[in-house]
Amino acid sequence: MAITDAPKIITSRLGYDDSYTIERYLASGGYEALRKALSMTPEAVAAEVDAASLLGRGGAGFPAGRKWSMLRKNPLTYLVINGDESEPATFKDHMLIEGDPHQILEGVLISAYALQVSQAFIYLRGEFALGLERLQQALNEAYAHGAVGADIFGSGFSLDVVVHPGAGAYICGEETALLESLEGKRGFPRIKPPNFPAAIGLYGEPTVVNNVETMANIPWIITNGGAAFAALGAGRSTGTRLFALAGHVRNPGNYELEMVKTTFRDLIYAPVLGGGIRSSNKLKAFIPGGVSAPWFGPDQVDLPLGQDEVGDAGSMLGSGSVVVMDSATCMVRASWRITKFFSRESCGQCTPCREGAGWLERILFRIENGAGREEDLDLLMDLCDNISPGVNWPPQQTTICVLGPSIPSSIASGIRMFRDEFLVHVKDGGCPFD
């Protein structure tokens, strides 16, 4: 395994200072993919995306083309783009939105054409102030350029796009909570079934929800063909993917890497990527796909960066965020910090998540601060079981949405992998890392 010379599909312009301007975008072939798509039939455009077997980049990893072909049987009303990236250590969409907003817009335009919808919404995380400014500016430029609005490039196809900033809730990244929020309501996730967006979506109409990074891939796929995209990667994980590397590495940041061909070891240790662990410490554990994913130990560092490969090993590639924890990390504190995030961001709709997250957080805080009891470990696991029966991956859940079963991941990983460390906290009456 090694770093491949795969093309930069979505980060090609990010090295330029003016990467977000329409001038730079047009100078580097911008909106040519849209012109090409408009000369094709919508079916042919959708077929290219299907041929690329582009997996959705939001976390669940469902093939975007298959999602579209399933939905195209019925007329769709809305295309909604999820740009509410809010998880700790996940910052890939952030960079794409600020760095290359036109690429996202072009992806939205092509997708809307393929799906034959005339109204799209981009729901942006409220804290992305610069991203909002740049995306809105890009949208204004694209309207002026004739790429958005009525009769795009004289093709007869029309699309309006609205950029909508969120109000600061992680839960609104959950697609049905996002739709509620977009409708002006509280961000409470809807119960599925029956409220699958494809059937009952925005304003009760059939709706497709796609991720920002998914959209950013679409122009390249249309320009170079779905087959060229599918030739990259291996198995179900095709193309490249943007990995947000965070934690105790020398060079944290976003890296676009070919899927499957590259491993976590490459990402963490390669000098041009993560550059190894800080202070020459040892790798203790890493989270392969965002803080809702179960953790991996150093023995799994040679796993390839592939959806099924990570899934089969008991976790997920999820949001593409890789968090590295070195030997100086207190695992109780790590579990507590992640649980505190979920406790704060639970929407409060379902009992197990609303009450469970706070309870778990309090217990972990107690253990970390020297007031833990040995039986607290079993209590933690049993409470996790009441939120996510079995505490397995992929998870079962007693809640409406997947925020609930995301809570146990860090706790169960911490206890299963580092039980002794938890017990030391209990026996010593405090944190050995303090």
Partner: protein, 532 residues
């Protein structure tokens, strides 16, 4: 809402497997309701049969077989499918339900000994059946100031709240005024009013009744009794002509509380605050008799009979016929306890039999003098059907007069009303078109307003003939400059158009821009923002 769903259902029947036995359900029926009819009670908090399900509390999780094996599914949210296989009692379901209950209690203050709900509390009851016997929660609980008044009648204890959304759904869905809603998120979710507006609804008491814990309590009942000490009789509310079914509860010979009873043809369990809390006047300890309040002086003249001794007051709500009360007897708690008879110009206390004999003699004398037609009886619009029937029987069968009425001629002309086809509340709530000739139903017949509001929110079209917008009027309606005019239509305008002839002006697209009306000069307590 519920009404329309019910009529659609009646047609088709499905069979599903419930804990290994075959059970039938109506098409569209929710699993939790079908199971309950079949004798399997699935525990619940947020589910309420008269409101849309939300599946939030997760107490009703049961295993439903699906393409990917059994999944924990909220029974309050899924409709029964033909052939559905449901397990409500296996190990996994039991663990999930126990877990939810334990989570609900984590932050609940468990102050049952001083809680009004204690003894009739769904959380208390289900704690006995589910969850661990002893709490594993040793952390600090969530704290709020308790309780806070969200209106003159309703107090909110946010520590007890289990965030089931029953009250907020009632306000938004049933009453149509979302004056309370959730604020905050996660553990900090709380029911709240808008910062500058109290929970000022004619129907606020219903939220207290349907609260599954003691989070919402009513000031009149607060700390007055324990539920197990209450005597209860079923009765009919006589505060207006709707006739809501009520449970009248009393303790130590004093009324303590009225609760709405869910009857399909009438009130669906709801009451208005006037009906719910008017019992306080019966318990009132104010002066039995005294100088007539100035504002009743005029009315006294209108209703005072020519010969006081010929009238036996029925002793209805105190204050209504205060003038007679002074004349005809001694009242306690609004009830006539000692009739009086005028003898040689003086009113003297007499026994009931003497008073009734004197009244009967008076009626007989009038009948002899002018024939049966010289006697007329007014029963009152708020009588129950049974009482009205008894009045009519007395008038027509005993006295022999046809002059019997329910009102003093202040309503619509009887010959007009009697000429119209009649409908029950249920029939009106299922009618394709409703024509409202009344004033504001929310003011006059509040619970009928709730029933018809649900109808109008559904498939029923409304035509209002009213000088001012009412609570039923669509938000776009504005008052015309001269009254009365047909207001507007509401509901789907395509299926059944406005009535020919009557509704020439009822163009749904015509939305005249008229400045808002000046609100009538009511005391602050009863002021409502005009519904525009």
């Amino acid at each position: 809402m519920t009404d329309t769903a019910k009529t659609d259902q009646a047609t088709e029947e499905l069979t599903f497997t419930l804990d290994g036995r075959s059970v039938t359900a109506a098409k569209g029926e929710l699993l939790i309701a079908a199971a309950e009819r079949a004798g399997t009670y699935i525990p619940r908090f947020c589910y309420h049969p008269r409101m849309d399900p939300v599946g939030m509390c997760r107490m009703c999780l049961v295993d439903v077989e699906g393409p990917r094996g059994a999944t924990l599914t909220p029974a309050c949210f899924v409709q029964v499918n033909d052939g559905m296989v449901v397990d409500t009692a296996n190990e996994r379901v039991r663990k999930a339900q126990d877990g939810v209950l334990e989570f609900l209690l984590a932050n609940h203050p468990l102050d049952c000994p001083v809680c009004d709900k204690g003894g009739e509390c769904p959380l208390q009851d289900q704690t006995l059946a589910y969850g661990p016997g002893e709490s594993r929660f040793i952390e600090e609980k969530r704290h709020f100031e308790k309780p806070i008044a969200i209106s003159d009648l309703v107090l909110l204890d946010r520590e007890r709240c289990i965030q089931c959304a029953r009250c907020t759904r009632f306000a938004a869905e049933v009453a149509g005024e979302a004056q309370i809603d959730f604020s905050g998120r996660g553990e900090a979710v709380e029911v709240a009013t808008f910062p500058t507006q109290p929970f000022e609804s004619y129907f606020s008491g219903n939220t207290v009744q349907i609260c599954p814990v003691g989070a919402l309590t009513a000031t009149p009942y607060r700390f007055t009794a324990r539920p197990w000490d209450l005597d209860q009789v079923e009765s009919t509310c006589t505060t207006c002509a709707v006739g809501c079914r009520v449970a009248v509860q009393s303790s130590q010979n004093r009324l303590t509380r009225l609760l709405g009873i869910d009857t399909e043809p009438v009130n669906h369990g709801w009451l208005c605050d006037k009906g719910r809390f008017a019992y306080e006047s019966v318990n009132g300890d104010e002066v039995e008799s005294g100088p007539l309040p100035a504002e009743l002086e005029g009315e006294n003249v209108d209703v005072a009979p020519a010969t006081a001794s010929q009238v036996v007051s029925l002793g209805v709500a105190r204050g209504q016929f205060l003038g007679e009360a002074q004349e005809t007897g001694r009242f306690e708690h609004g009830r006539l306890v000692e009739p009086r008879l005028r003898k040689e110009g003086e009113l003297v206390p007499v026994s009931w039999s003497e008073a009734l004999t004197a009244a009967a003699a008076g009626i007989s004398r009038a009948k002899e003098a002018g024939g049966a037609g010289a006697v007329a009886l007014i029963g009152g619009a708020r009588l129950t059907n049974e009482s009205a029937y008894a009045w009519a029987k007395l008038a027509k069968g005993v006295i022999g007069t046809d002059s019997v009425d329910a009102q003093l001629g202040d309503g619509l002309p009887a010959d007009l009303v009697l000429g119209l086809p009649r409908a029950t509340i249920d029939q009106a709530a299922h009618a394709p078109v409703l024509i409202s000739l009344a004033g504001d139903l929310r003011e006059e017949l509040p619970v009928l307003f709730l029933r018809l509001r649900a109808a109008v929110e559904g498939a029923t079209e409304l035509i209002e003939i009213s000088p001012t917008p009412t609570a039923l009027s669509p938000p776009t309606t504005t008052a015309p400059s001269s009254a009365p005019t047909i207001q507007a239509t509401r509901g789907p305008a395509t299926s059944t158009g406005p009535m020919p002839g009557m509704a020439k002006n009822a163009d749904p697209n015509r939305r005249p821009q008229i400045p808002p009306q000046k609100a009538p000069d009511f005391p602050q307590r009863f002021m409502r923002s005009p519904v525009l």
